[in-house]
Symmetry: C2
Subunit: 136 residues, 2 copies
């Protein structure tokens, strides 16, 4: 575990070891709040934010989009076409330069292999990069 920190150019501290252990042990994506519960209140909230940030910057963790909060909204497909069947199963593109998020209506989300026993109700596909106006 210490080797993992060193490999990613992160100084070994007790806080970082605790956080890393959480992820190694539970094997699923965790929000800031969930990690906080696992490491306990003895670690300062701000410190945890900074640890997560440093882990991400150094390639130890990656972001996983969450649906709960801080979402944007867009008009449903059928709004412009009143008689059409309802389907919002398309990808979205977010430009990192201007910040706009647009619907890619023509790109439906392809089927993904999921583990046996899982049931998918909804899917979100977000592409990030530069739009045609910001690409230069």
């Amino acid at each position: 575990m210490e080797a993992l920190l060193k490999k990613h150019n992160l100084r070994k501290t007790s806080g970082r070891l605790s956080v890393l252990q959480c992820f190694l042990e539970c094997g699923k994506a965790l929000s800031h709040g969930e990690v906080q519960e696992l490491v306990g209140q003895k670690m300062d909230r701000v410190t945890l934010y900074r640890i997560l940030q440093s882990f991400e910057e150094n390639g130890l963790l990656h972001k996983v989009p969450d649906d709960q909060v801080s979402v944007k909204y867009a008009l449903c497909d059928h709004v412009h076409d009143l008689d059409h069947a309802h389907s919002d199963n398309h990808a979205h593109f977010k430009c990192n330069s201007c910040g706009d998020t647009v619907c890619l209506e023509e790109s439906s989300i392809p089927e993904i292999n999921i583990p046996r026993g899982f049931q998918v109700n909804q899917s979100f596909l977000l592409l990030e990069g530069l739009c045609n106006e910001c690409v230069d």
Copy 2:
């Protein structure tokens, strides 16, 4: 525009008309804060939250995941396999019952048709539903 509200069983109010107009005019996904800027401070913040919620519940708007905040973190693929090339280009599954989000390591995100001139740097695919332990 009034017909749209009626069709979705939403009472016609001046606030809802303003919000709906924002989405019809700008044609892109908007966060709560962005809509607030467009409609101005005369509309109460809480009211706007409720209008967006009612629009979503009645099928007029749909959620678009955003990457900025409220994300979860997961260990990068290469953490367990130190010599492997770095790639976090896989889908994630979030269970709506237990709230866990896991990486679907074996499911890489397929290529998506994007508009001419756009450049994709990163992509997030989130599947939502029930995991094998919550499906019954």
